[in-house]
């Protein structure tokens, strides 16, 4: 029997996916803008962050209402809890995109280290793909796919460690590099954290599918 609840849940689900796609696109654009030294795009990303936050608030409000009015159980409950938990994480990924954009504007004009920027570019590609992938797994209810995020997150941890080491080397080699390399460090941190957030979402996708709460990212590496 089709219930009113199902229709509202379908709407909630659609809004969540829309927000997720928006954020996944934003993180990709912010890394690209950083590589292209594109201040205009960076500014756009900063300006649009508020819209992402608004979406989070709207989704949370709707979730609270649905819990209060329908007292959902079993898969219904898991789906709402998943959205409620994941939506905060998606919003934080949006904040990271904004922070990278702020760094993009900031770094302009300083001396730059091409080698490290290339590393950041590559890691950025991996991380934006992670965000897109985890949404695909959410949409297709793919617990196995979600679990595979653990491995990718590990690669990102190594790559950001590498950015960190290279940045420190560059600073040691030439004091002129300190300003740029500090930004590289920070951006490496944002990418690492975004990748951690993706594994959080992946954990909730697994919960939604199986009802089991798992830990996909037991890593101890703290970036900075």
């Amino acid at each position: 029997m089709r219930r009113l609840f199902d229709e509202e849940l379908a709407d909630l689900d659609t809004s969540f996916k829309e927000m997720g796609l928006l954020v996944s696109e934003t993180i990709q654009r912010s890394v690209q803008a950083f590589l292209d030294h594109d201040r205009a795009t960076a500014q756009e990303i900063i300006d649009s962050d508020q819209a992402i936050n608004q979406r989070e608030i709207a989704l949370e409000k709707k979730s609270f209402e649905m819990i209060a009015l329908y007292q959902p159980v079993t898969t219904d409950l898991r789906e709402i809890v998943t959205i409620l938990k994941a939506v905060s994480v998606i919003e934080r990924i949006g904040d990271n995109a904004r922070n990278i954009a702020i760094s993009t504007i900031h770094v302009k004009g300083n001396r730059r280290v091409a080698d490290i920027e290339e590393k950041i570019g590559n890691t950025g590609q991996i991380v934006s793909k992670m965000v897109a992938d985890v949404l695909t797994y959410y949409i297709s209810d793919d617990a196995q796919g979600a679990a595979s995020m653990s491995e990718t997150a590990h690669q990102v941890a190594l790559a950001t460690q590498n950015i960190r080491d290279a940045s420190i080397e560059a600073m040691k080699a030439d004091a002129e590099n300190v300003e740029a390399a500090t930004d590289y460090l920070v951006i490496g941190g944002y990418l690492k954290r975004t990748s951690d957030y993706v594994t959080d979402i992946a954990e909730w996708v697994i919960y939604k599918r199986t009802g089991k709460i798992v830990e996909l990212n037991p890593g101890t590496s703290s970036f900075i």
Binding site: M1, L4, E65, A68, L69, Y70
Partner: protein, 252 residues
């Protein structure tokens, strides 16, 4: 602001000397479902029954206050209660099919009203059964006794019977509490479909039913209206502590 279809002000009801409703003020906009909730003895059913003068026949009951249906005084001495109850229909807790066919049950109100034209009756019976979401289940058995149906079906027949006279308001007194969950669900779905075209006031003991189907919820306690608000607000963040305690199961 949507038009007010029913206004009740300072409603008091006495059983002999004893005051049981202590001045209820409640307005209803056109369309949608208002749920009346509250513990047993809170006065919600008593209040509901006052809306279409169901207490008239109980001689020790006195009702005072203002009751306006589209601006007209429901308790005016010249008000025809048969006419009134066509405008304000009622569905009870126990499904109450009359002991004759499904068709005759639904056509009952119309025939009382003097409608004899078979084509009109046929049309009205069909549209009412459809509106009550029971048509598909009974369309081939319209001349079977209504008593042969299940409780959930009987209740939807009762709703169809109330709808047949084209009421403006439908009063429902715990319409699903005698039904199993599946039948209750069917009746709830019927009500959800009807809420775009009818103004419904439902007394329910099921908090989850009130939250699922109503647009507005009124909480009664000890003959008083404690709070009325949008259902969303009532179930997320009511103004009154007492409402909060009742809805979250701390008393009642």
């Amino acid at each position: 602001m949507a038009e007010k279809i029913l206004v009740t002000e300072n409603v008091r009801l006495y059983y002999g000397e004893k005051e049981a409703l202590h001045g209820i003020n409640l307005d209803y906009r056109k369309y949608g479902i208002t749920a009346l909730i509250g513990p047993s003895g809170s006065g919600k059913s008593t209040y509901l029954r006052a809306l279409n003068r169901m207490h008239d026949l109980t001689d020790y009951v006195t009702v005072t206050g203002t009751f306006l249906l589209n601006g007209e005084d429901i308790y005016a001495p010249n008000m025809d209660t048969v006419q009134l109850r066509k405008q304000i229909g009622m569905v009870f807790q126990q499904p109450m099919p009359f002991p004759f066919s499904i068709y005759d049950n639904v056509a009952f109100g119309l025939r009382t009203d003097g409608v004899k034209d078979k084509a009109i009756l046929d049309e009205k019976v069909e549209s009412s059964l459809k509106a009550a979401a029971i048509w598909d289940e009974v369309k081939d058995d319209l001349h079977k006794s209504a008593l042969s149906l299940s409780g959930g079906q009987q209740q939807r027949i009762s709703i169809a019977r109330a709808l047949a006279t084209s009421p403006e308001i439908l009063l429902l007194d715990e319409p699903t509490s005698a039904l199993d969950p599946v039948s209750a669900n069917l009746v709830e779905n019927t009500l959800i479909q009807l809420r775009e075209q009818y103004t419904m006031i439902i007394v329910t003991h099921s908090m989850s039913q009130a939250s699922r189907i109503s647009d507005r919820t009124a909480f009664f306690n000890q003959g008083k209206l404690i709070e009325v608000n949008d259902t969303k607000k009532m179930f997320l963040n009511p103004d009154q502590q007492m409402t909060q305690d009742y809805i979250s199961g701390r008393f009642g």
